[in-house]
């Protein structure tokens, strides 16, 4: 190549990374953006799914209805998304499910030029966010379920006997206590989500791993791009872990005596 070679330790050609720097910066932004959106959406979805999996009632008719309409679908959902590889889910979403709904020729939801515009400009982002959110929601629902179940029955029984509704009991009594216990596993999940976002590069989402693959493909060199993004991911997960620790300290205050 004509570009001057800036050698580092004799083997690390930093000039290659320099050449593709915009791709790495854009990739960093995309990775962070997708991760943040998916953590928020996945947590909300996980909460709903977790509650659905715990739905119960005393009257037999209501109980059956809750089982059929909430519990079973939620259980099947969680089982599917935890029981299949995320990579497969991403490919399925991008090349099969999303084209069914959004397709220039015969999309069920959107067709024609709007579909083309949407798919061309945001296709991979949509796939990434949808697939990662659905997947994270399944894992997070288990965290919510375990968290809620870990709170002594007496807590909700006491709240209900004081006249609080189910929603009020959850909102003011159970979830605040459960949330504190759920923070460490939720933090783990957020870190896993950040790293899993690299899989969406397979459908052309220009995030960090995509930048590295592009450089590796262009130069057939592997140390430079993959070490670079490894360090970037590492910095991001360190920052995320630090944030979770801060939250734990903040919400753990109620427990200290």
């Amino acid at each position: 190549m004509d570009a001057p070679q800036i050698l580092w330790f004799g083997w690390f050609r930093a000039d290659i990374i320099q050449e593709y720097a915009p791709l790495f910066w854009e990739g960093l932004r995309m990775t962070v953006g997708v991760t943040v959106v998916c953590i928020v959406q996945g947590t909300l979805l996980g909460l709903l799914l977790g509650l659905a999996r715990l739905a119960d009632a005393r009257q037999p008719a209501t109980r059956l209805a809750l089982r059929v309409l909430l519990r079973w679908p939620a259980t099947i959902y969680v089982s599917f998304f935890r029981g299949t590889p995320l990579f497969v889910q991403i490919l399925l979403m991008h090349f099969a499910v999303v084209p069914l709904f959004v397709n220039p020729t015969d999309g069920w939801l959107l067709a024609g030029d709007t579909a083309r515009e949407l798919r061309q400009n945001y296709g991979a982002v949509i796939t990434g966010i949808v697939a990662l959110t659905l997947n994270a929601g399944a894992y997070i629902s288990e965290i919510f379920r375990a968290g809620i179940q870990s709170i002594d029955r007496g807590q909700s029984e006491a709240a209900r006997s004081l006249g609080l509704s189910y929603a009020q009991t959850m909102r003011h009594v159970v979830l605040p206590q459960a949330f504190r216990r759920m923070l460490p596993p939720l933090g783990n999940n957020a870190i896993a989500l950040l790293k899993d976002s690299s899989l969406v590069s397979a459908v052309g989402l220009a995030e960090l791993a995509y930048a590295a693959r592009t450089v590796a493909g262009a130069y057939s060199r592997y140390w430079e791009p993959y070490l670079t993004i490894s360090l970037m991911y590492w910095m991001l997960t360190l920052a995320l872990a630090w944030g979770v620790r801060r939250l734990e300290a903040r919400y753990g205050r109620g427990d200290s005596r």
């Binding site: 593709y20 791709l23 854009e26 090349f95 020729t105 057939s220």
Partner: protein, 258 residues
């Protein structure tokens, strides 16, 4: 000689003896050929899980003429050169375009296929050359010659270039409307476009003509020379032409000498 020294000398002698016994075995060893079998008609897996295709027929014929044994291993293209560097495979025969950049890192055989870049677009498209695709979204295979062409034309960090792992995926993305065009190697693009109604191809004469070569690790001239010998032999006796007609239904071009 003290006893420990004698033990070391004896040990070294033993190692040498063993090594001497092993070397002839290496000379007749089976060469491992890496090929990414997602690339019809060059290399793909048939229903019986065998890797078949133009590349496979060529390397088998070459090996027969060169008097070597080869074993094909399905290796994903994205890591195929890393496998070559690691020594997991000895030879890459996977529709690899010979270019200056790759020649810096690997040694190539003589060309065995003349490759041009072909652009697939929807039948309604009015684009006639690559330059007409400026501002449009273009799908390419990561690190391929199509990637090179798009990177040169639209800027290597352009967000209009969408990179995927395989040619079927760039065609799928085009069919689903995610991009306006897909650029890839002539053999594969033509083969894939036949499968989808509503697509057509164009050939931009300004694009350079390329050749596919078989890559060995830099410095492995012994294997490269064997391959070149076999290749020259199958071209001379018409085996190459026969294989070419089988897969591409047309007459083979004249290949340049190494």
């Amino acid at each position: 000689m003290t006893t420990p020294t004698r033990v070391i000398v004896f040990g070294l002698a033993a190692i040498l003896a063993i090594a001497a016994g092993v070397v002839p075995a290496f000379a007749q060893r089976t060469y491992v050929v890496g090929s990414s079998a997602t690339y019809p008609p060059f290399a793909y897996e048939n229903a019986q899980k065998q890797i078949v295709g133009f590349d496979v027929d060529v390397i088998n014929a070459v090996a027969q003429k060169a008097g070597i044994k080869v074993r094909l291993v399905n290796t994903p293209f994205v890591g195929i050169f890393a496998s070559l560097n690691n020594g997991d495979i000895d030879l890459v025969v996977s529709g690899v375009t010979i270019n200056e950049r790759r020649k810096q890192s690997y040694d190539f055989s003589a060309p065995y296929f003349e490759a041009r870049q072909l652009v697939a677009v929807p039948a309604s498209s009015t684009a006639k050359k690559v330059a007409d695709l400026a501002g449009k979204k273009v799908a390419v295979v990561t690190g391929s010659t199509g990637d090179d062409v798009a990177s040169r034309a639209f800027g290597k960090t352009s967000s209009n270039i969408r990179r995927f792992d395989t040619t079927p995926l760039i065609i799928a993305e085009l069919v689903n409307g995610g991009v306006d065009a897909a650029i890839g190697d002539n053999g594969v693009i033509a083969f894939r476009v036949q499968e989808h109604k509503g697509l057509k191809t164009f050939d931009d004469p300004s694009l350079p003509k390329d050749y596919f070569g078989m890559a060995v690790k830099q410095g492995n001239t012994a294997l490269r020379d064997l391959v070149n010998k076999g290749l020259a032999a199958i071209v001379a006796d018409g085996t190459y032409a026969k294989i070419y007609r089988t897969w591409f239904k047309s007459e083979p071009p004249v290949l340049p000498k190494p």
